[in-house]
């Protein structure tokens, strides 16, 4: 018994020391990331939340912060520009499923019937790889109402009054959505392509032996087995679409007549041009809540249509 005490001591002492060393190493390795997350995300988020209940402009200094409770949020729901921007955000979401359908069809065609699929992937990926600024500037010129090649082409086809595209409040938003589809097609295409590759070929062989047509194979094999991919693209696509800013900023500056304004653009203007820091922060909170709600809805709905 007298020997047992030193024995256990000997056994626990190094292991406790080792555990402490593991702990130190653990924090050393994850520490930088953790610090980054705290300083660049968590603290700003709390700061943002607090500011959303204030009337404040950062240029006046911290001592001028005035707490006004929920007044900002009440004002937001009477703010025509904000409501228009929020509405535009939801209309723009339509571009996501439309783009996905096109991407899926192209992916099926490319994986089955085309030589040099790699070259096609590069081609469809071009708009994504090119910077949004350059792409937006090019389309501004292409869509130019009087000199632009797009309208040049339409006039040559015999159209007397081609639309003014980005300059026409009725056409601006659809034009922006068209560009969004064009830009994001490559990503969806590549992800659908990877999904298609994961479907076992013998499923199709068996179906062909049973006499199933191409269309019924697509409907009962391809589509259901791709639902996880579709779900992923829908979640990321809708979140990305909801946060769009650069394209709008360069292409239209939210105009004409706020017809292409979105929440992030409105927030940018309010915060950095009008310098209303508190009010802009309350917009951020609405944006955040919308994103949370969209994600939650999708996660809840997935069990009705996603096959894992």
């Amino acid at each position: 018994m007298t020997l047992a005490v030193p024995k256990t001591l000997q056994a626990t002492k190094p292991s406790r020391k080792r555990r402490r060393k593991e702990m130190r190493m653990g924090y050393l390795f994850v520490g930088p990331m953790l610090l980054g997350v705290i300083i660049f995300t968590l603290i700003p988020m709390i700061f943002s939340f607090t500011l959303s209940f204030t009337k404040w402009s950062f240029v006046t200094g911290f001592d001028k912060i005035k707490f006004i409770g929920l007044d900002n949020f009440r004002a937001l729901f009477q703010d025509d520009v904000f409501l228009k921007s929020l509405g535009n955000n939801f209309i723009m979401l339509l571009a996501v499923p439309v783009g996905m359908v096109i991407a899926l069809l192209l992916a099926v065609v490319i994986s089955n019937h085309v030589y040099a699929p790699g070259a096609f992937k590069v081609i469809y990926f071009m708009p994504q790889i090119s910077s949004v600024v350059a792409v937006a500037v090019v389309w501004q010129v292409l869509f130019h109402p009087s000199y632009g090649p797009v309208n040049g082409f339409l006039s040559a086809l015999g159209m007397d009054n081609p639309p003014k595209w980005l300059a026409d409040p009725n056409f601006a938003l659809p034009s922006v959505m068209l560009l969004m589809i064009w830009i994001d097609l490559g990503v969806s295409l590549i992800i659908y392509n990877a999904g298609l590759k994961n479907i076992p070929a013998d499923l199709y062989e068996a179906a062909t032996l049973d006499g199933a047509t191409k269309w019924s194979q697509f409907r009962s094999i391809t589509l259901p087995l791709l639902t996880p991919t579709t779900f992923f693209l829908l979640v990321t696509g809708i979140i990305g679409n909801f946060k769009s800013f650069a394209l709008i900023k360069v292409l239209t500056d939210g105009g004409p007549a706020h017809s292409t304004s979105v929440v992030v653009y409105d927030m940018y203007q309010t915060a950095f041009v009008d310098l209303q820091t508190g009010y802009a922060s309350s917009m951020v909170m609405i944006l955040f809540l919308c994103l949370l709600a969209i994600t939650a809805l999708q996660w809840i709905s997935q069990k009705f249509w996603v096959n894992y």
Binding site: P32, V37, M45, F58, V133, V137, G152, A194, T277
Partner: protein, 259 residues
């Protein structure tokens, strides 16, 4: 299919063609796809070394993008190793916190970060941009999957030989996950190079502008000189296109991996 591909590319072909033309020929209809009069030398020279100063914007973009990518790869791979191969108390809780912050969109932190950076003297500096891009959570997620797939035996045998975590990480595991790191580095490079929002908010001095800001400012100022704007657009797109074609497999794998 080939036809659709060509239609898809038309805007780029038009841009390239316009960048070689004299201004008066840009809007000629029917479109002269192959310019009759060439002014490529003049157009590109004015963009690069004239008032547009693309040489400076290029240099700024290269500097910011390289350093951001480097920082991000180091921070993310260290965290990925720590979260998979070191057993310490609170590890799972910490990882859950990091995971949760991924839900917070960068737009939501823009305003407070702007205020914080101004008080910290990081506003209107390249260091500020590098710090903002260097701590992205996504890299930790991507790389964590790869580290988790590596067997713990590597670590156990190295520990028997007396190697510490730092040695195991740098000389055994890092070489093993090199393909994953290359994929993430290329993606981070492309995203940082193309980022417009962060530099727009956090930079003010023209001499610090990245290519995207320079491009935007140039297009705003030179609204009527379309041939020059197209030469600028071509200049902004070409480097990424080269990187994409060279690292195609990595980019496509990286994006497909997310799905």
């Amino acid at each position: 299919m080939a036809l659709l591909g060509v239609v898809f590319l038309l805007p780029f072909l038009w841009m390239l063609s316009a960048s070689f033309k004299p201004e008066t020929d840009v809007f000629k209809y029917p479109i002269e796809w192959i310019p009759r009069t060439w002014r490529a030398g003049f157009n590109y020279e004015s963009v690069w070394f004239g008032k547009a100063n693309f040489a400076l914007y290029y240099w700024n973009s290269i500097k910011v993008t390289m350093l951001t990518t480097l920082l991000s790869v180091v921070v993310s791979s260290m965290a990925a190793y720590g979260f998979t191969k070191i057993h310490f108390r609170g590890r799972n809780t910490l990882f859950a916190i990091v995971l949760a912050t991924y839900m917070i969109p960068s737009e939501a932190t823009l305003v407070p970060l702007f205020i914080m950076f101004r008080s910290a003297g990081l506003y209107d500096t390249h260091l500020g941009l590098i710090l903002l891009g260097g701590f992205s959570v996504l890299g930790t997620f991507l790389l964590r999957q790869f580290f988790a797939s590596l067997s713990d035996e590597y670590i156990e045998s190295a520990q028997i030989d007396g190697g510490g975590h730092i040695r195991i990480f740098t000389s055994i595991l890092l070489p093993l996950v090199r393909p994953a790191i290359a994929t993430y580095a290329i993606l981070r490079f492309i995203w940082t190079w193309n980022d417009f929002q962060t530099p727009l908010v956090f930079l003010n001095s023209k001499s610090l502008f990245t290519l995207q800001l320079g491009m935007n400012a140039f297009a705003d100022r030179n609204g009527a000189f379309y041939s020059l704007i197209m030469a600028a657009s071509v200049s902004a797109i070409v480097p990424l296109l080269i990187i994409f074609i060279v690292g195609q497999k990595q980019v496509i794998d990286g994006i497909a991996l997310g799905g």
